[in-house]
């Protein structure tokens, strides 16, 4: 299990299979898991190609090092799984593709409270010249202009969505892999989404849907009461359920908050945001394009709403050329 540019939540989701970890320890020789074990990178590098049975790769590809690690683990692994939203579709850090690396550095290194009179930014190479104590060169990995997904970098065998994947789904997938290694289970076709459903979050949401049309979108800060049983979209809260793959158990709507879309597009959806836009357009109580537009204008941050997790993977490619 490896993380590239990620938050570590995917690793915690794996740790959260709890007792099953002991079973995993019995069934697998865990060769590389920097989050929980002393990593053995040197061993990984010296392994024969294809000698790792399964690699769960989490995180997006933010710099040259992430990309190099992706290529290395691809070569060493029989089965490479894009594990979690970052590896699958870029996740929230993928929103960085809306701006440039310079803008990003500017926000961080010229931000409030920063003491930077010389307007320094981190350099790929920095020469230390210190008179009596000599010199040395310090190097940092170079940022890629865009954050990319794992399958934009190397060939991927399976995609496991979620931010992070729910632990019950992780446990199911681990069982499947153990079964496949023992010859009692068969892995799905390469390219499949695993550890999730094929339908939408709405299909596993317990809230009542009356197929009511809405006159406006509202923000939680403008809504005094949220009906605990009624579909959130019908209450005007922009809920991403209709475009989002099922598999999590519709946890967010159950907790009184709209689906944020972390399980990515449902089966057959090419562009997540486009599908969600058409789903929203179909629930608004209007037929005239101007009226539809007025209602959709009630969504304060369209790009964040429609591409919160999937910008790096979207047809928009961040609205810029890569």
């Amino acid at each position: 299990m490896y993380w590239a540019s990620s938050c570590g939540g995917c690793d915690i989701a794996v740790l959260n299979v709890h007792e099953m970890l002991l079973e995993v320890d019995r069934q697998f020789d865990i060769v590389f898991w920097p989050a929980a074990m002393d990593a053995k990178y040197a061993d990984v590098r010296s392994m024969a190609d294809g000698s790792i049975d399964v690699c769960l790769f989490s995180g997006g590809i933010r710099n040259e090092e992430n990309a190099e690690m992706a290529r290395l683990l691809r070569a060493k692994s029989k089965v490479l799984v894009a594990f979690g939203s970052c590896a699958c579709e870029g996740c929230i850090p993928g929103l960085a593709n809306l701006g440039t690396v310079d803008e990003l550095f500017d926000a961080v290194y010229e931000g409030p409270g920063v003491d930077n009179p010389q307007h320094l930014v981190p350099q790929p190479e920095w020469r230390i010249a210190d008179g009596a104590t000599g010199t040395g060169v310090l190097r940092l990995p170079v940022f890629s202009p865009m954050l990319t997904t794992l399958d934009q970098t190397v060939a991927v065998d399976y995609f496991m969505p979620g931010c992070p994947p729910e632990s019950a789904r992780v446990a199911e997938v681990l069982k499947l892999v153990i079964g496949a290694m023992g010859g009692t289970e068969t892995l799905p076709p390469v390219g499949s989404v695993i550890g999730a459903g094929t339908s939408t979050c709405c299909d596993e949401c317990a809230r009542d849907r009356n197929l009511k049309k809405i006159d406006r979108f509202v923000r939680i800060t403008d809504l005094a009461e949220v009906d605990p049983r009624l579909c959130l979209l019908e209450q005007g809260l922009p809920c991403n359920g209709p475009a989002t793959r099922d598999g999590c158990g519709a946890l967010c709507p159950a907790a009184g908050a709209p689906c944020i879309g972390c399980y990515g597009p449902a089966d057959g959806v090419v562009d997540y945001g486009a599908r969600l836009m058409s789903a929203f357009a179909s629930v608004v109580n209007a037929t005239e394009p101007e009226e539809i537009e007025r209602i959709l204008d009630g969504i304060p941050d369209p790009v964040g709403q429609f591409y919160r997790f999937s910008l790096a993977k979207s047809l928009l490619r961040g609205g810029r050329n890569a």
Partner: protein, 494 residues
């Protein structure tokens, strides 16, 4: 001139890298602890609706998403000038206390505990949670798994999900809890109090009972006389969720105490061209480089920062543990508290906080108002600017947001737990290097282990700072000759 590179997995890990420059005599001239990662939430949160910040910023770190979720929730409340109903505040702190107990458990047993419980010189393959189970018995191993499971169950009950909770919104929470859930949480709290006391007992037996370990903790290899920072309540007692920020000097004297929104007067951040991470320091003391002492603005956060800054613990059993901590490591003189400077004492302080958090779970879960359904109020003021601060397990965490009149984010500043400790960590690494490298000779296995241990005491979380939860930092040391050519490579045995 020799350069020594300590590099996690040949620079491909992207988690942290240490360069050590030796002078002509082969003594350590400088060490550079580089953080080679950055994601830039400060930039791409701009334009997002302010109410999404608790959900978006929890993705800064999957290890402590609860800390970012809560700091963000408090900041968005402040942006709208709204005070959540008391029940919402109880629920947030309840979730938060269960989280702190869970996170400290993870750190002690899974990430750093193996150093002590299995032993710093044990084979690397044994120095992990499974090795802990083998050494101290499956019973404790199963309890650790149960503690994490129970803790995450509480987080999911209140927060909606086990990782990346979502229920805190401007003005309160999206949902309350039922009496059935409350009773389950109370049970978990009581179970965790027992678990925490058992962990302190284990510390007593396995660590304090071992002269070598006690010597290592007291030994000055990892000791730095820095300032200390932590949130305190109105009585000056340690608080993880709320309160004022207190900073004390290396002698324990008060440097200042302020409401979190005043942080810009007290904290500044230094940019260096050789690392992606900024160095925060005390503005009123100033940046004197990576040195300790009262003249340097370097301060320490996390369990040791908090326990040194506070007058005591807010719960009775943790208070007893706190008193024992100071009796053993720095007995008060004339009734005056003395600071505990050795960094390895951080592990002990963490267990005391584990007990404190568990006791807080019981206190909050038995509050009569915790099951009320009055959990949210709608903001009435126009959104502007707000600061939210909590004590993340790894240190004081501050989120600061500015919005336009529509409540869309225009600017973000984040000072996270691990980042506060960047300078002290660099100090500890330099100290370890200076203690272990002389005349150009490198003590190979010791150097790697000791530097790793110096590092791990801080429980550094580069998920927060940048990226990864480098509890287990694989190290590679490359020694370069004066011409920059590598002459010797050491790897962590594995």
């Amino acid at each position: 001139m020799t350069t020594l590179t300590i590099d996690p997995v040949t620079r491909l890990e992207g988690h942290g890298k240490i360069e050590i420059l030796l002078d002509e005599a082969g003594e350590v001239a400088h060490t550079y602890f580089q953080v080679p990662e950055l994601r830039g939430f400060e930039r791409f949160c701009v334009g997002r609706p302010i109410e999404e910040m608790p959900t978006l910023t929890s993705r800064i770190c999957g290890v402590c998403p609860e800390a970012h979720h809560m700091a963000a929730a408090k900041a968005v409340d402040a942006v709208y000038g709204v005070t959540p109903p008391r029940t919402a505040t109880l629920l947030r702190e309840l979730l938060y206390s269960a989280f702190v107990a869970t996170d400290h458990t993870t750190h002690f047993y899974v990430l750093s505990g193996p150093d002590f419980l299995v032993g710093p010189d044990a084979p690397v393959a044994e120095r992990n949670i499974l090795g802990v189970v083998r050494k101290v018995g499956a019973d404790i191993g199963l309890k650790v798994i149960e503690a994490r499971k129970r803790g995450h169950a509480v987080i999911e009950m209140i927060g909606g999900r086990k990782v990346h909770p979502l229920t805190a919104v401007p003005g309160g929470m999206t949902k309350g809890i039922t009496e059935e859930e409350r009773s389950e949480i109370e049970k978990t709290g009581r179970w965790m109090v027992d678990f925490a006391e058992g962990s302190l007992q284990l510390w007593d037996e396995a660590i304090l009972g071992n002269d070598e370990y006690v010597g290592m903790i007291r030994g000055d290899l990892y000791s730095h006389e820095t300032y200390y920072m932590g949130l305190v309540d109105a009585d000056g007692r340690l608080n993880m969720y709320d309160g004022q920020v207190r900073v004390v000097g290396p002698d324990g004297g008060l440097h200042g105490q302020y409401p979190p929104r005043d942080y810009p007067e007290w904290i500044a951040e230094r940019v260096e061209p050789w690392t992606y991470l900024k160095f925060p320091y005390l503005r009123k003391v100033g940046w004197k480089g990576l040195v300790d002492g009262p003249g340097s603005g370097v301060y320490c956060v996390g369990p040791l920062g908090r326990i040194n800054a506070a007058d005591g613990m807010a719960t009775p059993r943790a208070q007893q543990a706190y008193e024992r901590f100071y009796e053993v490591l720095a007995p008060p003189v004339d009734g005056h508290k003395r600071m505990v400077h050795p960094r390895l004492a951080m592990h002990w302080a963490r267990l005391i906080e584990l007990l404190h958090a568990a006791e807080r779970v019981v206190e909050l879960a038995t509050d009569p108002e915790v099951t009320s359904d009055r959990v949210r109020v709608v903001p009435t003021e126009a959104p502007t600017e707000g600061v939210g601060t909590v004590e993340a397990p790894r240190g004081t965490l501050t989120h600061h947001y500015w919005t336009d009149e529509r409540g869309l984010v225009t600017k973000v500043n984040l000072i996270v737990g691990t980042t506060n400790n960047y300078a002290p960590m660099a100090l500890s690494i330099e100290r370890a290097a200076r203690g272990l490298i002389h005349g150009g000779e490198v003590v190979s296995p010791g150097l790697l282990n000791r530097i790793e241990m110096a590092f791990r005491a801080y429980d550094p979380c580069f998920g927060c700072a940048t990226h990864s939860l480098t509890g287990e930092m694989p190290l590679e040391v490359t020694i370069h000759d004066a011409g920059g050519e590598p002459i010797h490579v050491l790897r962590q045995a594995c």
